[in-house]
Structures are given as structure tokens and as C-alpha cells.
């Protein structure tokens, strides 16, 4: 038996990762995921004013910065609540936050699809495609982040969410502008991504109807299917969602059985030879992200795909891209429902709380993002950021491999394995911070 070790560099993600493969008899036997990068954001937060987290944590990541902002603001709000302050956000503030978060997810998914998945798959299958996929990603994400900026001021790195609500006070004109931008995104998705009417697309509930999907998504699914890759990349079939969002409520799903979760059982631990910490729930590893949300929400089309392909890469890729249409439809509804007469912020300026502990949870593009803050005397005593990628990309614990590692084991080439790795939408800056 021949054992060889090969290092492979993964780029085109936010930051870079290194995979150390152990190959035996032409099959991947083990993988170590390393991130050679550390900034110490949690250390930097210690000793600062509790509200500084609102400005500092978004800068953890240039692509999911908005999720960090919302997690940070929720952590403070939760802390205030725990300290006995009754904080009632207006529906308007809640909806605006949901809307801006949805926009961030949409731009992320589209970039991942057009800048990573499609080109990598074409390269792997040696398909020569002269189309400029990157331009499609740029067009849609710039359109949707414009809608985001109407409420948040800028993207990336906005700070418009504040404990008690939001700082913006949109007008009807702003709403119309945002809606026009969302309509343009819907048009683009219908024409280019799914090749069909969005409402009809969202009615699809079983694998047998998936051939109706056209556009680049249809083409990609077809490529994966016809090249025999659909069942690759299976992991433990265990999913977890901590946040409530437009897409699902919280819960965990183990082989389709869904049950409740409690963030208190989340545990972080340092790993050898890596700057990223591993994270477990009751000592077990779970996959988080769009597929987890689809499973926990028991979305028919995701369950149908899962029934046939389990948690393989086809299901994982589809689950992420499916969120684009779901979120566009939902965000349009949010804009329609917004009552501009409600207050933007309900926290009285003199209500400040010096000692509290709070947890803020957000469903970010890559899955559940958790911020925990412990404040005493108005200053941050401890700040913990648990990112989605920490769930998916850890080395493993005890006798179990990490989620992505398990998905890669058994692959017959490094190229195949790295493609599987990318289906998790890897981000190194978030993993190590």
C-alpha cells in the first residue's frame, strides 16, 4: 500500500487555506485543513466599550460583514433584555434588518456560484466556456447591494443597526428605488440563473420536476448529474441551525428528524496546527448553512433531493442557490409590508446598561453566526465569535472527522476533493478571525 502526502493551496476564497492530503491507493484517506492567518479580533475587543463591537466585528469579513453587525447588535440587545430592560423593536426595524441581511446573502450566493462553483466545475470537467461568469456575479451583486445601501448606507462595513433598531428613516421614494432594484434582480435571476418564471420555480417540490429548471443553475445541475458527481461529497447527514430567519427556524436535523437546539451546548476548542477553533454541539459535529436551513425547514424540494442524494454536493449546491429565489421573493414582500410610520429605534438614549451578558445569533450566508458578549462596567470583558465555517471546516473531534473532511474522504483525486471542499463556501478570514 502506498501512502503519499500532498499539500494543496485553496485560493479564490476570502483569504487562503491549505489542504494537506493523505492519499492511499489513489484515494483520499485524510485531510488537514489549515488557515495560516490570524488577527486576534476577540482579543482586540476586550476592554473596549460594549458598543465598539458594532464597528469592529463587521470588519472580520468583507463578504459577510453585515451578518456580523446584526449579530453584534443582537448580542447587546439580548444582554439588555437579560439585565431586565424591556426592549421591543418595531416591526419596521426588524423588517429592515431582515431585508438588508437577505441582500447580503443573495450577493454572497451569486458570487460563490459564478466565481467559484461554475468556473471550477468547468475547469474540472475541461469544458471550455468563454462566457464571463464573473461579470454576471458582479452585475447582480452590485444591484442587490445598492438596495442594501439604501437602508444601510454602504456595503461592505455598514454600521446602521443600533441597539433598539436602525438609524435610517427611509421614505417612500427609497422604498420604490429598493423595489425597482429587487425587481431587476428577479428579472436577472429568471433570465440567467434559473431560466424560468420565479413563482413557478418556487413551486417545484420534487426531483422529478427539476428538469424544468433552465439557465445556468439548470445547466450546472445537469453537468453534475451527467458526470456522475451528484452523490459525491456526503458527510454525516447532521445539520444545525441556531438562528431564526426568513429561511427557517432554529433546530437540528439528524437523518430528517428535526428537533430543538439550545446555544448553551455549543462548545469551542482549540485545534493543533491551526489558527481556527473547532466547535461542537453536545460534543458532536454538525453541518451548518443553506442545506441545514433547508433540512430544518423541511423544504419539499430540498427533502426530495436529500432523499435521493443525501447530503451530497448536488443537494448542497442546490440548497444554496435555491435561497436566492426564496430571499428575493421574501425581500420584495418585506418592502411591501414596511410601515414607515413606525419608529426606527425604540431604545431611549439614556438607557444604558453597564453589566450584562448577551448572545446574538444570525443566519449568515454560510450558516449560523454566534456572537457572545460579556460586559462589566460598560467594557467588554469577553467576546466570543463563532462563525459558520468553524462548524463545517474543523479537523474533527474524537474519532470523528470534520464535516468537510468527511465529505472529501474517499475522493479519487485532489481536484475532486477540492471541488467538494468549495461546495461548503469556504471563507478563511471568518474561520480564524
Amino acid at each position: 500500500m502506498k501512502k503519499i502526502k500532498i499539500k494543496e493551496l485553496i485560493e479564490k476564497i476570502e483569504g487562503e487555506a491549505e489542504l494537506d492530503f493523505t492519499i492511499e491507493d489513489g484515494r483520499i484517506e485524510d485531510v488537514k485543513i489549515n488557515f495560516g492567518f490570524y488577527r486576534g479580533i476577540e482579543e482586540i475587543l476586550q476592554g473596549r466599550d460594549a458598543w465598539d463591537a458594532l464597528v469592529i466585528t463587521p470588519r472580520v469579513c468583507g463578504i459577510c460583514n453585515h451578518a456580523h453587525l446584526i449579530a453584534a447588535v443582537r448580542a447587546i440587545e439580548d444582554g439588555y433584555q437579560n439585565a431586565g430592560i424591556n426592549l421591543l423593536l418595531s416591526e419596521k426595524a426588524k423588517k429592515i434588518r431582515s431585508f438588508t441581511l437577505a441582500c447580503e446573502l443573495i450577493q454572497n450566493h451569486m458570487k460563490w456560484f459564478y466565481m467559484t462553483i461554475v468556473p471550477q466545475l468547468e475547469a474540472y470537467l475541461q469544458i471550455d466556456n468563454r462566457q464571463n461568469h464573473a461579470l454576471k456575479a458582479t452585475y447582480l451583486s452590485s444591484t442587490v447591494t445598492k438596495a442594501l445601501a439604501i437602508f444601510a448606507g454602504q456595503w461592505p462595513h455598514s454600521s446602521y443597526a443600533i441597539p433598539g433598531g436602525v438609524s435610517c428613516d427611509p421614505t417612500h421614494l427609497d422604498l420604490m428605488q429598493a423595489e425597482a432594484l429587487i425587481d431587476e434582480c428577479i428579472r436577472f435571476v429568471e433570465q440567467v440563473l434559473i431560466g424560468m418564471d420565479m413563482a413557478q420555480y418556487l413551486d417545484i417540490s420534487s426531483v422529478s420536476q427539476l428538469h424544468e429548471v433552465g439557465g445556468d443553475l439548470g445547466r450546472l445541475m445537469h453537468l453534475i448529474g451527467s458526470s456522475g458527481m451528484a452523490t459525491l461529497g456526503q458527510s454525516y447527514d447532521r445539520f444545525i441551525v441556531f438562528g431564526e430567519s426568513l429561511l427557517s427556524s432554529s433546530g437540528k436535523s439528524i437523518a430528517t428528524a428535526v428537533s430543538k437546539v439550545d446555544p448553551r451546548y455549543v462548545q469551542e476548542s482549540a485545534q493543533d496546527e491551526s489558527m481556527a477553533k473547532a466547535v461542537t454541539y453536545k460534543k458532536r459535529l454538525y453541518e451548518t448553512g443553506p442545506l441545514a436551513r433547508g433540512m430544518v425547514a423541511k423544504r419539499p424540494i430540498i427533502k426530495s433531493l436529500h432523499k435521493r442524494y443525501k447530503d451530497a454536493l448536488l443537494t448542497r449546491i442546490f440548497a444554496r442557490m435555491h435561497e436566492v429565489s426564496l430571499l428575493l421573493t421574501e425581500s420584495k414582500r418585506l418592502l411591501r409590508e414596511l410601515d414607515l410610520n413606525e419608529p426606527s429605534c425604540t431604545l431611549d438614549i439614556d438607557t444604558r446598561c453597564a453589566d450584562f451578558e448577551g448572545t446574538g445569533i444570525v443566519e449568515a450566508a454560510r450558516g449560523s453566526l454566534i456572537h457572545q458578549t460579556e460586559v462589566s462596567g460598560g467594557l467588554i470583558h469577553r467576546y466570543e465569535i463563532i462563525t459558520p465555517t468553524q462548524w463545517n471546516l474543523s479537523h474533527g473531534s474524537g474519532d470523528e472527522h470534520g464535516i468537510a473532511v468527511e465529505a472529501m474522504i474517499g475522493s479519487k483525486s485532489i481536484q475532486e476533493a477540492t471541488f467538494i471542499f468549495r461546495t461548503f463556501d469556504v471563507c478563511s478570514v471568518c474561520t480564524t478571525q
Partner: protein, 413 residues
Amino acid sequence: MGMDKQESVKKLFTAQSAKVDTNRGDAYYEALYVKCQERLDALKKLRPLNNRRDFLSTIEDEGLERRDFLKWASATTAMLMLPASFTPLVAEAATLMNRVPVIWIELSDCAGNSEALLRSDGPKIDEIILDIISLEFHETLQAASGHQAEKQMEEAMEHFKGKYLLFVEGAIPLGMNGQFGTIGAKAETFVDHLHRAAEGAAAVVAVGSCATYGGIPAAAPNPTDAVGVMDVVKGKPIINIPACPANPSNMVGVILHFVLTGQIPELDSLLRPKFAFGYRIHDNCERRAHFDAGEYVEEWGDEGAKNNFCLYKMGCKGPMTFNNCSIIRYNEGVNWPIGVGRGCIGCSEPDFWDKYAYERPMANANIKAPTGGVEKTVDQFGLGLLTAAGIGIGIHAAASAIAGKKENQKEEA
């Protein structure tokens, strides 16, 4: 606040001294015009560096009309602080952007500037320009990855030695012998990587506050001992484009200026291009009239907030922040922080993460006036604030004094 105090504050904040003197006289511009023309003629003779799309046909493909393009060119000419007569030259320079090689590296960062520049915003035309810029190497955008990408970068550096602009995103962690950040299969440290890439560069452009001053990674206690490019690279022209994220228009402005003149733009003492950092947010803020009238937002979501009053009391750092967001805004000009009722956090200033980034009113922030006082409320700010604002202007005055030196440096580019 006493009437005279209010008056003097007002005077200070409207002082012309806070602005750059943009007019340098006809003789200067005539000479520059001829020089630019020669430069562009020379560039035209060069072959485009890569097989990217032709600029004008790209514009048409994108459904933009020539008229839009000319509009953009005249706005950009104004942004670069050149007289309107330069507009045709700027337009021509845009079409020649693929003659100047650019290498882009990412160090200790959040990739937010790449996001801002290459994937999300920037006025439409800037975006297309960026698409045709001769981007010889960019870690995230690269088609190749892994070892192949590394090889491409080596080749680009060798081939364009002495000619390329090096864009750097992210801070440089010096702690633990640089081990907090490594890159590539050989695990080269960020600091070595930067030295190697800077070696053959015509000029180094630091984009974003991380690359300029160390940024968030350098926030106290600076766990990784992070610093900015100017602390590491010596003996090369350096241009800083701070802000978090840096504004794409300013990145394009720097490249365009280089294409047009073969020089780096005029810089202030912090090596920031004056065309972008020559005035304060406060100088051109859309809420300025409310500041002058003493109408402030007093708490989030109050009547003042609904009426777009000034955010000074809510902690706006616009009066001490040099940047042009109030004019060019973000995300294709759709909006900017103050537009959504959030004060400026001073993200383009040194140490903003420690001094400015506070969510609480500036009166309670850590900006210490020389008298040692930290002001409590706007009504008490009197002297303290004057001195704080004075610091901003002081920096600027120093900038003009040092400008001569920087201009010498410019000639080498």
C-alpha cells in the same frame, strides 16, 4: 453654548484653510496638458497588455452610451482636481488603462476592499474600467489557483519589472516573526511577500485602512503587531488610500492619474492623494446646514433623525475626517453612512479603531484635546472641540508644508 463660542466654532468649520487649493495657475496646467498628451501618445504605441476587451465596445455591450461615458469623464476630471479642459485626456486615458500593469496582493485583511472594488460597487464605468485594467495578478480574482497562480505572479513580476503598480490590501503582521500571516505553498510570511512584490513595483498603493495604518488588526492591544505598508516598504513611492473599505472611485482615480501623467498624484503628509483626502467629510456634508443652524439629532429615531438633522451629537466624526465620501458616496453613489443617519466613524483616519470608532457621541470618545480635557456634551465642548478640530486642520497644514517633499518623490514614479 455662548453665542461667541458658537460663532467661532462655525467659523472654524467653514474655514477655507480646511480645503486644498486646487488652482495652480494656467501656466502649470498648460505644461501639464502637453506632458499628458505626450504620455498618452507614447502609451498608445504600446500594445495592450492582455487580451481583455476593448473599452468602448465594452461600454456598448453594457448598454451605456458614449454620452454617459463623457459624463463620467468630466466628473472624474473634477474629482482629480484638474480643469475641465482635461476631460478629453481623461477619457482617452481610460481607454488606455490596459497599458499599465497592476498586481494586487492580499495580506492581513477581511477582503473588504477587493469586495468593494472588484465585486460589488463603484460607478458602472469605474467597474468596467476595472474589468479592463490590466490586472496582471489578483489573488482572489485569478482564474488559476494554487501553485499555478503562484507561478503566474512570479512571471508577472518578472515581466513587468519596474513598471507595475502594486496594490496591497491588508495589514502586515510582524509579531512572531511574521507567522500570523503566511501565503503560498512555501508559507512565505506576509512581510516577505510584500518585500518581494514591492521590489519591482513602480509604486505601491495601499488600499484600505489596514494596508495604510494597520487598521483593525492593529487595534489595541495589536495582538499580531500589525503595521501598514509605509512602515515596511522603504525607498518606493507609496500612495495610501485609507477608509474601511476604500472607495473604488479613489482607486480608479489613482490608476487613471498614473496612466495620464506617469506620476503619482499629489499627496498629503500621510501619503493620501489630495484629490480625495484634501477636505473633510464635514466640509461637504449634506447635513451641514443643520450643523450650522445648531439642529442636531439627539437620540436615534427622534424627530431630528426624521428630518435629517446633523449627527454631531450622535458621535459623527465628520469634522475631523479627511475623505471624499460626502461627495462620491458608496455603492454606485446610492448612499453613504450619513445618508442613513449614522455618523461618520472616521474610518480613513489613523487609529480610527482606537480613537474614533466609538458608537457613543464624540464628546465621550477618546479624542483627547491637548488641554487634556474630554468633552462631555456639545454644550460644553467649547475649547476642547476647537482644539480637536484644530488637530485636523493642523495635520492639514503640516501636509501642505511637507507637500514639497512628496512632490519630489512623485517624479521618480
